[in-house]
């Protein structure tokens, strides 16, 4: 019997009444019953369980010992104590570790502790109880009725000495138990009693339904066992499942890390490389970098803090060979082509206002009305691609952001200066554009172009600017700000170790050399960036104009030849041009050199004779001057040629006061005679190169003495001059023609003008 009971899974019964108001039967009540059992028998829990099962068995089997109980349905209702033994610990695998059952001695001690030994009646009762407990063993076989009878006997003794009777509490408990058992029996009876059949389903109708698994599996006869075992199995499987899941999770992360190991290594590799080029610091869990120029001497307020993060999405290219990664930072350009193919393990987040591409555009316009662009320069021209591609290598991204910051600093400084500077024509700052006037009709426009990618920038301007691109102004703009940065960070070294730092060399010498107020003020003020840029732009305009004038003249004039040479070594605001005017074939006898210094607002010309002339920015002045120089060159050339030919220069003037008034300056001319003194050539040269040559001979062939000139000697005077048609003469240039002319007119045996010169008169 016991073996059967052990084999049974420990059943639990949940009895739930449909109408809770009818009755509540709780586990505590059942416990009371078991107490009764325990108190009676002092059995081990297993035995108690057996006892209870037996009791139930009797109940269920409808033993005749329970006359009040009707024959019950074949439902085996097992009643037992709730927790067999106290659960000490529940293992991870769901195994419950139970406290060991009480030994007999322990149980006795526990029960004994409940007895009040102070009460003398109790002590007497102890003896009687000893019998009772002896009987307890027999209780297995004894039925409840017997117990009831004993109780009744006790009760019969009770009225006499209800207060003194020692068995009273036991009796009371037994009675309570009996009451409860009766109630339970009634309930079960009610629950199991059918009262007709359901007309629809045919199921038996009942007043009370026992809810729970018992009812569900009622028909199967096996009772709640499979379900309970399922629950138990589920519970015990729960623990191992959890352990396995945790292990699997761990393995999964390990595996994924293994997969990403390449990326992680790359990240640290790239971080190392990033650190070599950029300033980084760790703030809590984030890595921050600074791309501002502050350490290089900038005092711009805007911060250039960027964040370095691990690139979370790793594409299939993540496992690129390490060699490819190694080449990335050093060669920024080659990296650009690879950028699409290889995704970096590292990502940088730059502030949103530094994203995109910025450049500063410098435009020089002749006037506001007709924006004819003379020149435009771009600072870091990214015109072709407007926006940053989203997946840009960090190096390029940071460089672009740094460039944006640099442009912003440059522009803000220029704008600040434009407002502060007191110019005759005030500078204007409108939005992202500064306009300053270089000369009366020429404007310098500096604009900051910043494309953040989303917005479209003015394409026309970009294209226009790409057409004319000057590296000089671009470089100058870079240089000016960087120079200022470098001055900020590197003050002049103190001459002596004890001298204060940050004092310029000039200021240091100001005391011993007794500098005056004016020079001290000059030391204190430094030309601003805008002023310097304006100066450079003015110089650029002036140089371009000068070159233009010289080039056009050299192209148009063939008779004397103009060659000019611009010095390659020049400062941003000063260029020197060497001009030499020569006549082809006669450069050994005369060359007219000129040196032109192109400054910011004026030209300084040093002539052959050492005269220094200044010209304004107006190109016409310079043009006129070159024409005058050509005239002088021609006349001087003729004189030099005359010397070679043995002719005499009778007179020469660079500014002839006679003749018609020329539109451009005075005419230049000279008068020559042959060695014999009987042939004369007069040459007149007027600035838009135009030469007229006149010849005459002596003695005068048609001399008639008149009232005023009577003497015969005056017939030696030359004839009236006759103009030659130069274009009909042989010779490739003026000097060549005159050489031929002089050669023909030299000597006594030369043919007369009439016979020789008539051909071109």
């Amino acid at each position: 019997m016991e073996a059967v009971m052990d084999a049974m899974p420990k059943p639990t019964l949940v009895i739930k009444f449909i109408n809770p108001s009818v009755c509540t039967l709780t586990q505590n009540d059942l416990k009371t019953n078991s107490h009764f059992g325990n108190a009676k028998s002092g059995l081990s829990p297993k035995q108690q369980q057996t006892t209870a099962s037996l009791l139930v068995g009797r109940l269920s089997s409808g033993s005749p010992a329970f006359p009040r109980l009707p024959i019950m349905a074949n439902v085996a209702v097992t009643v037992e104590t709730s927790g067999e033994n106290q659960v000490v610990e529940v293992g991870y695998d769901g195994q419950e570790i139970l406290a060991p059952p009480l030994t007999l001695a322990e149980h006795l001690a526990k029960q004994a502790s409940k007895i009040d030994f102070e009460d003398p009646r109790d002590r007497e009762e102890g003896l009687l109880r000893g019998d009772g407990s002896d009987d307890g063993d027999d209780l297995k076989d004894a039925d409840l009725t017997e117990a009831d009878e004993t109780e009744d006997e006790d009760e019969s003794d009770d009225p006499k000495s209800s207060a003194t009777w020692p068995w009273e509490p036991v009796r009371n408990k037994l009675r309570d138990a009996l009451t409860e058992m009766s109630v339970l029996a009634d309930v079960i009876t009610v629950a199991t009693k059918e009262c007709g059949k359901d007309p629809v389903t045919g199921n038996p109708k009942r007043y009370m339904v026992l809810d729970g698994p018992v009812q569900l599996e009622q028909g199967e006869g096996t009772g709640p066992r499979p379900y309970v075992s399922l629950l138990a199995k589920k519970k015990s499987l729960d623990g191992p499942a959890k352990i396995l899941l945790a292990g699997a999770e761990h393995l999964k992360t390990l595996q994924s890390e293994n997969k990403n190991n390449r990326t992680a290594q790359d990240f640290h590799f790239e971080l190392l490389r990033l650190r070599q080029n950029w300033r980084l610091k760790k703030v809590l869990n984030t890595i921050l970098g600074d791309l501002s120029y502050r350490t290089a001497g900038s005092q711009f307020k805007q911060s250039g803090v960027f964040e370095v993060v691990k690139s979370d999405e790793n594409g299939p290219e993540g496992s690129a060979p390490p060699g490819a990664a190694a080449t990335t930072p050093s060669g920024g350009h080659e990296d650009g082509s690879k950028g699409g193919a290889q995704k970096s393990a590292l990502k940088v987040n730059v502030p949103s206002d530094l994203e995109g591409i910025a450049y500063i555009q410098v435009t020089i316009q002749t006037s506001q009305n007709e924006p004819e662009q003379l020149l435009s320069a771009n600072l870091s021209d990214f015109g072709a691609f407007g926006a940053n591609p989203p997946e840009m290598h960090w190096q390029k991204k940071l460089e672009a952001a740094q460039n944006v910051l640099f442009c912003k600093e440059l522009f803000s400084q220029l704008a600040k200066e434009a407002i502060q500077l007191q110019a005759p024509i005030p500078h204007m700052v409108v939005g992202n554009q500064i306009s300053a006037s270089l000369f009366t009709d020429i404007q310098l426009i500096i604009s900051l172009c910043h494309s953040t990618g989303s917005e479209k920038k003015g394409p026309a301007r970009a294209i226009q600017s790409q057409l004319v691109h000057s590296h000089v102004l671009e470089h100058s703009l870079h240089q000016l700000l960087r120079l200022q940065h470098s001055r900020n960070i590197n003050p002049d070294a103190p001459a002596l170790s004890s001298a204060p730092i940050g004092i310029s060399k000039r200021r240091r010498l100001a005391g011993p050399r007794a500098a005056d107020r004016q020079s001290l003020i000059e030391m204190a003020t430094q030309p601003t960036l805008l002023e310097q840029i304006i100066q450079q732009a003015q110089h650029v305009v002036l140089r371009l104009r000068t070159m233009f004038v010289l080039d056009t003249m050299a192209r148009e004039l063939k008779d004397p030849l103009i060659s000019c040479h611009l010095g390659t070594l020049s400062s941003p605001i000063r260029t020197s041009v060497k001009v030499s005017i020569v006549t082809s074939g006669y450069d050994s006898i005369l060359r007219t050199p000129l040196v032109i210094h192109v400054g910011e607002k004026q030209l300084t010309v040093v002539c052959k004779d050492g005269r220094v002339l200044h010209f304004s920015h107006e190109p016409q002045e310079f043009r006129d001057f070159i024409f005058c120089q050509i005239s002088q060159h021609q006349i001087n050339g003729v004189q030099a040629l005359a010397k070679c030919m043995g002719w005499h220069v009778l007179s020469s003037s660079n500014n002839l006061g006679c003749g018609s008034v020329e539109p451009m300056g005075g005419a230049t001319g000279c008068l020559l005679s042959n060695p014999a003194g009987d042939r004369f050539i007069a040459i007149r040269h007027i600035p838009p190169p135009q030469t007229s040559v006149w010849v005459s001979s002596a003695p005068c062939k048609d001399f008639y003495p008149g009232g005023v000139v009577k003497d015969r000697k005056w017939e030696k005077l030359p004839d009236s001059f006759q103009e030659l048609r130069l274009d009909k003469m042989d010779g490739k240039n003026l000097l060549n023609k005159l050489e031929l002319l002089m050669a023909s007119l030299s000597g006594n045996d030369t043919p007369t003008i009439a016979s020789n010169g008539s051909s071109f008169m």
Partner: protein
Amino acid sequence: MSGGSAGLMQGIDTLTWAMKSNIIPDQEYLLQGSILDTHVEVLKHRLRGLCDNVDSGQETFQEREMVFAIQGTSSQPLHLRIRRPLEQQAECPWQLRYIGQPELGNRPTLVRSCYDIACSDNAVEFLTELGCRLEYEFVAKGFLFRKGRMKVTVSKIFKTLPPNPNLMGQESLEPLLASHLVELSVLAPSGNDAVADDMKNFAEQLKPLVMLDKIDPRRHGMLS
């Protein structure tokens, strides 16, 4: 004439105003220490890493300092120092320097008033004419680093010996100690005490090599 005097007065007014409004950097904040000659190279490396003039490297100097004293009305004689480069350079003026007494106060650094005036090379005669008496002179050779406003000088102090006929009349130098003097100084307007904290922080960076501290020479004199 009147215009000139008016201009002069104006200049003095400006100067007085500048003095009053504390914009003239006339306070020297100073920390001093010393390092053995054998470890100077290590210090140099350390300073190279910490200081600003990385590109140009350290600036070396060789200077002679002459200390003159003149007895004024007070009991303490007034000390004036003339410093000049050992090898004369055209663009480097001499320097006349007045260093006041260290201020009392619980600051991390020594604070003393200090006036540097560039002067021409006849300053010695001028001072002698004034009645100053040469107290002592020495030669300092070393190098200089900058860190923002701070200046770090590491110099070795030499004693000058009288001209030696064996050395063709040239005076020879003899090192005073087997160590270098390290000075960290900032010239700032008075009341600018944040400087002192900066300097203390910087001195902490040099800690295991050099212990830069405020050293009061008067107290040392008393101790010895």
